[in-house]
Every structure is written in structure tokens, then in C-alpha cells.
Assembly symmetry: C2
Homo-oligomer: 338 residues x 2
């Protein structure tokens, strides 16, 4: 009998998340029922949105229940199947959670999707050619709607979403300027990802200083901004937005730990006639096929080479997740299980 | 020889605007050149946007120049003409400024428009069937895009723009809830303008208290909000917005006096997937004819009965303007010159 190990949320954080919030639980894998598929996870995805789910407050998604497996995207391999569309050996992407194995009701649409690991490496289906990539695509294409020659900025530029925003905006003929934390990340953003410039926000004590750096990097102002961070980055960008600029709000990581961070000067929304719009990629299923196709081509052709930070073994998941929240990862944060 | 009197801006305000910022200047009216029209103003419009123009900082419009006539909408009558499309007696609306007469280059498109004073009273062409009405129309129809049965809120609900938002939203089958300052204004908003409810923001010490009152008045949440005020009203409304809510940002009057007022919880833009968009009506000329037609019908049929506060005589303009900034007016603020 095979034993499955899983991380459960056992305590909601008050303030910063900590390893005490999680506990490892083990149990035998049950026999499959008709229509079910057993998946062995190769990679587990760690993403900032998980922090929001750990809270009990009003949010766009139901809170992660206590004493059940932490939610999360996974790629892996079918090891047993009682569904005629899946056979052992199939490579699949799903929402298996922080555990070694998952039992999936394969008849429910969207829960399990076969992928081709010869086209792009399996792990990228959790990143550039997965949810983070589609997130970048929707915010850029549907909200920012960039035109060739316009300037697009993106915060957390070296991350899974930010790097895809850059690749997609460059493919549309934009000037792309990243904002990231630290010289290493900025070097990667310009040298490997091919952004036109990158600003290290850690070099700026306040939003006014950061805004000056943005002015230098964006001599024609900013037409579109993809926000993954919030706080002083957003305040700085807003000062530099051109008339009729569009801001896609994808993440407010700085505000997850309880205290909301105010927007310093919301009157700029009026002064510069901005559109500021929040979105969640899972609510736009119609965009997934077209987005995945473009992202698969960009990655498959080598035009976009996303970086990954891979943590080894299920045991390492909580620490890797807390590191992600502090920006210690570099590109897409994964946990390798097999 | 006829003498023209005009108010000029002679000093930019530091902090609150005051009567010291203005000075009355008199001069003879020059002879008309070919293509010019002389208009005697009957009414002068006072509007919150004028306060923004008095500053020297970056804004969506050039600052009001010092030592020249204060900008402003006017309706009046042609008294002399060297243009073949205008004859003495024509009723016209334009941007004549804070003065008795204006000389208009009638060949410049958009500077002077003939109106029909038998259809609606002349003064309404500065309010409900003029710039404030079109402002309401654009924000509601183009940004909020309300559906029948949805709930729409509007701040400064008894004002020229707010009252028109209510009339247009009621005509579209919405539940309309106003926010205004004082019991008198709230009574007017519900009893005369026909809003479903109105909340007196002066009865609430902070945005959380105001938000509770909004929850009671909007049992199905808020789908669209028209913002004329900013500050705590916007913070309170954001807490009550439904998923995919739309906020049209038309005014941030509370922030005009130098210090920007922060938005308390911008992460709600993400949590509730809001669209927050600023606009200026003068940048959307294509909307004017269709908007004016609908507004003219609503007013002409008596379905929408906008209220006016009329100050008598050009001398009274600065005091009336300062009162407007403090919310002392009731409906559209005008100065009657003839």
C-alpha cells in the first residue's frame, strides 16, 4: 500500500505566514473509483496567491480550509486510471495540491489536462506555459492593450508572471521596463529576458526616488503597467503614467499580511485619465487556449527562456513558499517531488 | 462706449482658495473684426474643475493664466455679429468666462453653439443639458455601463453632475443610491430627484461607518459608482463594490487643496476585480450630441427637474465659487448677470 504525504494548513497566520501554519500528514492512497485517475506529482507550483487563501477574510476566492491539503498547481504523470481518456504514463497538469499524489475526478472539466513534455519541459506548464503565463497574457492583452512603440512597465519583473509580461510585450513591439529587487534580478531581466531596462526598487527609499528612476528609464512616459506588487512601486509608476494609461492589477503582495497599503495619490487616476483594473485569470477561461498557444511558441522557439527556482522534496515546500513571499526566489518557484 | 467687467485670477492659492485670488478689471469692448461675435452673458457657470485650473501643477489641463479672465461656461445672447451664421438675439452657449461680455471667434469650431430657449430654460444649457449633464452621461454610459436591476451609487448626488447621473441611471432601470452632505440635500435627492435612497456622509465620522450605511442602502452590493468627491466616500464605496464593479472617477474635490488624500485599501481593486477609470468630458466630443439629446428629452419632459443655486450679479462670483467648493450650493451653481 502506497503512502501519500501532504501539507495541510493547520493554523491561519496572524501577520506574517510561518512554518507553524503547516503540518505534514500521511495516509494511504485509497482505491480508485470509476472515473478517477491517480497522478504522481513531479513538480508542485508555489504562487503568491496562496498567501491570500490562507486568510479567512473576504477575498475573491474561498479561504483555504483548515486541516486539508494546501491548494496548488501540479504537473505529473498518470500512474493509475479508471477513466478511458487517461492511461498510465500520460503527462498531466492539474491542481493536485501540496502532496505526492492526487486522486482526480477526471470527468470534471478543467481538472486535468494532458500536456506534451517534448514540446516544452514539463515544469514550464506550471509557469510560462501555464497559469502565470496566461495571467500575464490576459492582463497585458485584455487590459493594457499595448500598441507597438508604447512603453510598458512591470513589477516583480523577474518572476513567473512578470517575465512573461515582458516577453509578450516585446513580441508586440513595446519598450519594456522591469522593476525588480536586487542587482542580480535586474541583470537577469535585461540580459537574459531582453527587457530594455530594469530598476532595482531596493535602491530607492521612497516612491518619489523610484519615480525619478522611472522617468529616466521611460523617457516617453508609461502607457501600460502590469502590477504584481503594489505599495510604493504602484505609487511611483502612477506619477509617470501618460494620459489614458492602463494599469492591470494582478498582485498586491505587500498588502497580504493584514494591513492594507494605501495608494498615495489616487487623484492621478483622474488627472491622467487612467484605467486601473483588477483581474483573476481563472475567471477568463476563454483566453487560455490562445494564450497558451502563443506562450508555447515563445518558449518552444527559445525566444522566451523563463528561469526557475527549484526546491527539492515535499519537505521543503513551506520554507520555499515563505521565501517566495519575501522575493528570495528567482523566476518561477517550484518544488521538485520526483 | 460699453464697458466690460471681468474677474481675473491675480494670485494662485496656497491651500484654500480665497477672494484675494481674484480681482475685478474693467475695459471698453473693442470693435468686432470679421468673423467675430459679441455675446452678452446671461448666466455664468461655476464648476469644481475651476479650482484645479487655479493651481500651477501638472494636471489634465493647462493652468488658468494669471491676469486674464477666469475660464468658465456661459449662456447669453448675441448683441453684435460680423459672422453670417449669428445674428443679434440668438441664444448661445460658450466658454465666455467670468465677465459681462465676450468677443468670440465664431469660425473656430465648438466655441459657440446656438440653443433653443423654448425647449428648456436657458440656464439648463450650463447644467443638466450642458457640460455637467454630458459628464454624467459619459461616466455612466461609457465607463459604468449599467444594466437594469443593478445598483449604482453617486457622490455629490444633489449637484449638477450627480443629479444627472441619477436621472440617467433611473431611466436605465437601476437602483440608484446617492451620497450627499446634509439632511436637506438627501431629502431633495430622494423626494425630488427620485433616487431610491440617499446617505448623509456628514452623519458618519469615518469611512467604515459610512460603509455600513451603504451596506444597508445597497442590499445587493454596488455594481457601479460615479465618484465626484474622493476621500472617505470612495473608501467606503470600495468596500461594498460587487465583483466586476466599475467606478467612474469624475471628481476628487477633497484633494484639490494641495494635499492628496490616499486611497485606504487599493487591494480591493484586485480582490473585487474592479475597474477604476478617470475621464474628462471634453475629450469625448463624439458623445455630446447623443448625450445632449437624451438629457434634453429628460428635462423637457419634466422627468428630470434639476435644481439651481443662482447668485445675483458678477460681483458675487468669487464668493459663490468658494461656497461651491464647500458644498454650500444646492444643485447647479450659477451666477445671473442679466
Amino acid at each position: 500500500m502506497t503512502i501519500n504525504h501532504q501539507w495541510q494548513l493547520v493554523q491561519r497566520p496572524s501577520g506574517e505566514a510561518s512554518t507553524d501554519n503547516f503540518a505534514m500528514v500521511s495516509a494511504p492512497i485509497p482505491n480508485l473509483l470509476e472515473g478517477q485517475v491517480l497522478v504522481r506529482h513531479h513538480y508542485l507550483s508555489l504562487d503568491p496567491y496562496m498567501r491570500g487563501r490562507m486568510n479567512d477574510g473576504k477575498s475573491y476566492a474561498a479561504p483555504q480550509p483548515l486541516h486539508s491539503v494546501m491548494i496548488g498547481g501540479t504537473v505529473g504523470e498518470v500512474v493509475d486510471s479508471r477513466h478511458d481518456k487517461f492511461v498510465p504514463g500520460d503527462r498531466v497538469v492539474g491542481m493536485g495540491g501540496w502532496q505526492d499524489f492526487s486522486v482526480v475526478e477526471a470527468n470534471e472539466p478543467g481538472l486535468l489536462r494532458k500536456v506534451d513534455p517534448t514540446h516544452v519541459p514539463l515544469s514550464h506548464y506550471l509557469g510560462a506555459v501555464g497559469m502565470p503565463g496566461v495571467t500575464a497574457w490576459h492582463g497585458l492583452v485584455r487590459i493594457i492593450e499595448p500598441q507597438a512603440g508604447q512603453t510598458v512597465t512591470v513589477s516583480a519583473a523577474s518572476g513567473a508572471v512578470g517575465s512573461a509580461v515582458g516577453a509578450l510585450a516585446k513580441a508586440r513591439g513595446c519598450r519594456v521596463v522591469g522593476i525588480a529587487g536586487g542587482a542580480d534580478k535586474c541583470h537577469y531581466v535585461t540580459q537574459e529576458l531582453g527587457f530594455d531596462a530594469c530598476i532595482d526598487y531596493k535602491q530607492h527609499a521612497d516612491y518619489l526616488s523610484l519615480s525619478k528612476a522611472l522617468k529616466a528609464a521611460c523617457p516617453n512616459g508609461i502607457d501600460g503597467h502590469f502590477e504584481n506588487a503594489g505599495g510604493k512601486v504602484l505609487d511611483a509608476v502612477m506619477l509617470r503614467m501618460n494620459a489614458f494609461g492602463r494599469i492591470a492589477v494582478c498582485g498586491m503582495i505587500a498588502g497580504y499580511d493584514g494591513n492594507p497599503i494605501p495608494m498615495v495619490n489616487p487623484s492621478l487616476i483622474l488627472v491622467s485619465r487612467l484605467k486601473v483594473q483588477g483581474f483573476i485569470v481563472s475567471e477568463h477561461p476563454a483566453d487560455w487556449p490562445v494564450a497558451l498557444k502563443e506562450l508555447g511558441t515563445l518558449v518552444g522557439s527559445g525566444q522566451f527562456r523563463p528561469r526557475e527556482t527549484v526546491s527539492m522534496g515535499l519537505d521543503s515546500a513551506p520554507q520555499a513558499f515563505l521565501g517566495l513571499l519575501k522575493g528570495q526566489n528567482f523566476g518561477k518557484q517550484l518544488v521538485k517531488l520526483v
